[in-house]
Symmetry: C2
Subunit: 377 residues, 2 copies
């Protein structure tokens, strides 16, 4: 385990137009620089939004850093878990920021996993019609995925992320040492998104993952490297297609299935966390592609094998309490926002690193596949 | 009262960049064209969001028009009044739109006053991270002000419009015949915003208003003309300064006072409606300008006289139940989002049609003025 100080963090620049470009900084110990980095953005006050778990571990440090840099600070803490990404959680965060008199020139610091990034980011997007925010992701999933790209939002009873805004952060501070306290289960869940980047369009990175995944988990230099590779990949897609009119949809590989699974398990993280749903979704996307004759069966097998090796689920049957039957799954997909005019859009693959957008997939085709997966077809 | 059919409505174009330009159509009977206009935008489904009062009068007609044009429709109805511009109202509208499976290519039609425009517009801005919407304003205030310019939002317990988004409509359909059913009180309230445009930068229009106000109230051709003049003025400002970095703040003439008054009366429209608060705010802004030696006293008098002539309040004492004392008013202004780094920004005037942005106004100066107004200084 490397404990080097991050004098020179890895940097990925996201070159968005209109003065909205920003840096993603990646390295061990970066949270200690929160204050200096916020001051460099010209902020005089910063609100840290976080959850109870992360607050106990990192809020004092981040707050001390901000105060040492001369910023007025405040702390808004929500309960941990997906349930906070709700209308009620949103109102709580907005009112907390208003009570602290956060103004347009101030900063909102989203300190936590993807739940906090999405929730605090949406509050920042809409508070006073938009205040600046910094992502300080503390889960692997948030560092490689949710903190980059400006998608923010909350869930409705009708589905995940159905309410939200595009709002780019001014800076992403990915302190990879913060992952040392993350549970194995959450590390694995984030790892599903890491593997996803290889599966989308980078076969060489997937092969690198097969060889180096243990270093990511143990906190070796492979961790920083993997986070940087993933951020670079995501930033590239985001810059080319910020508002998801095309290519950006590729990032949803595995996610149409995943969102349906999360919906049917009521976003209950005791049963399934997002990354586990994604792992199952990735395996399903490849097997569905194989079934449609698009992708060799052994490629689908290689995907599932690697995910299983790191301890991730790859089958619907692995969902504790059951995934729901095929009809319920297809119905749950119908509420996904990737639906246009009633037709289902999937991300499918011709092989590892060769995914593509497949609009207009027949519901009956999906239903038959899921029935077969569940052993009922 | 002219009952001509609106074959050729007055049109004001709002030339925003990035393909976001849109038309404001003004004329009697335009709601009957809702369906044809929505179909011309390529929509296949439209959700009408409205309040109970407006639903009873106009929802059937608008819905029939949409259905005649072949669109799938649904109706989301909230209680009338400012209280619906809340977190709960927002959740209700979003969930209503989701239950009706409104997708990205569909339309949200905001049918009602400014409350509905702001609420439905904010829901449209954030539903699935943005769906298209049409403003169909049915109050004078909404036709001349809130439906144009893309500001949407809700209130928090901390103040008005503190949560929201910029989201431009695709079309504004201002059916001036719909104002025939508006109460006298609401007509007068909207008229405060009409007069405001003259006071900001168009002395000739203010003089025209002094001569022609009765025709606006009675539904003569002066009504359409006044709505068009106001929309043109607002559109010009919005195009030059969409995100309120400068000039757009002029539209807030009278509003720093007005928002404080509304806050202190708990947004209770039985006591004070927005336009009445604006009327008092306009009169205060001119008297404050006169007190600071910026504006001749007789100009301030002319403003108050005209507003009083149409039946609008112009003094703090006119607020039923009292406005709160000077300290409470200044404190309530402090939560306004036009506050930067604690300094108060006002819109002041050198005369009718000669307003300007005055940042950094001393709180003590405001306090002394309000004490004098309340007869305690
Ligand atoms: N905006 C996007 O582009 C995007 C992309 C992917 C996922 N997401 C969203 O991200 C969310 C999932 O994010 P997540 O997996 O990070 O979940 P999460 O934020 O709930 O974090 C998982 C758990 O880990 C805890 N935790 C966080 N950091 C910790 C640390 N350093 N040490 C110990 N415990 C820690 C949290 O308290 C929580 O209990 C979902 O809501 C998903 O929709 C968003
Ligand atoms: N977005 C902006 O740029 C902007 C600008 C100014 C004001 N506003 C907002 O607008 C709101 C005030 O709007 P408003 O004054 O239109 O209030 P409103 O929407 O509450 O309407 C006033 C009343 O008139 C009723 N009504 C509406 N149309 C009617 C009709 N044709 N016939 C009979 N009754 C009718 C409504 O049911 C309501 O009871 C405030 O919330 C204010 O913050 C927004």
């Amino acid at each position: 385990m490397s404990e080097t100080k991050t004098a020179h963090p890895l940097t990925v620049h996201v070159p968005l137009n209109g003065g909205r470009g920003y840096d993603i900084l990646i390295g061990r110990g970066l949270l200690g620089q929160t204050g200096a980095r916020a001051a460099a953005l010209g902020a005089r006050a910063a609100a840290i939004v976080t959850d109870e778990n992360v607050a106990a571990l990192y809020a004092d440090g981040a707050r001390a850093s901000l105060e040492a840099a001369g910023l007025r600070t405040c702390l808004v803490v929500v309960p941990p878990g997906e349930a906070s990404k709700s209308y009620a959680g949103y109102a709580q965060v907005c009112d907390g920021l208003l009570a602290a008199r956060i103004e347009r020139g101030d900063l909102v610091v989203a300190l936590g996993g993807g739940v906090i990034g999405d929730l605090a980011g949406f509050a920042a997007a809409t508070l006073r019609r938009g205040v600046r925010f910094v992502q300080a992701p503390t889960t692997l999933l948030a560092q490689v995925d949710s903190s980059v790209g400006g998608k923010t939002g909350i869930n409705s009873g009708h589905g995940k992320n159905l309410i939200g805004a595009f709002h780019q952060p001014r800076l992403v501070l990915a302190d990879t040492a913060s992952l040392d306290t993350l549970s194995e289960r959450e590390m694995r869940a984030g790892y599903a998104e890491v593997a996803k980047y290889g599966l989308i369009n980078d076969a060489a990175f997937f092969a690198w993952c097969e060889a180096n995944w243990a270093g990511i988990f143990s906190g070796g230099p492979e961790r920083d490297e993997a986070v940087a590779i993933c951020c670079r990949a995501k930033a590239g897609v985001v810059v080319r297609d910020e508002f998801e009119h095309g290519e950006r949809a590729l990032l949803n590989l595995g996610h149409t299935f995943a969102h349906a699974l999360e919906r049917l398990t009521n976003y209950d993280s005791a049963r399934l966390v997002h990354g586990e749903a994604v792992a199952i979704g990735l395996a399903l996307a490849f097997r569905f592609s194989a079934r449609l004759g698009l992708c060799p069966g052994q490629e689908a097998g290689r995907v599932a094998n690697h995910l299983a090796l790191v301890g991730l689920p790859t089958r619907l049957q692995a969902v504790p309490g059951g995934s729901g039957d095929a009809d319920a799954l297809v119905e749950a997909m119908g509420q996904d926002k990737k639906v246009r005019d009633g037709a289902l859009t999937f991300i499918l693959a011709r092989g590892i690193g060769a995914s593509f957008i497949a609009p207009g997939i027949d519901r009956a085709e999906v239903l038959a596949f899921l029935k077969a997966e569940l052993g009922a077809g």
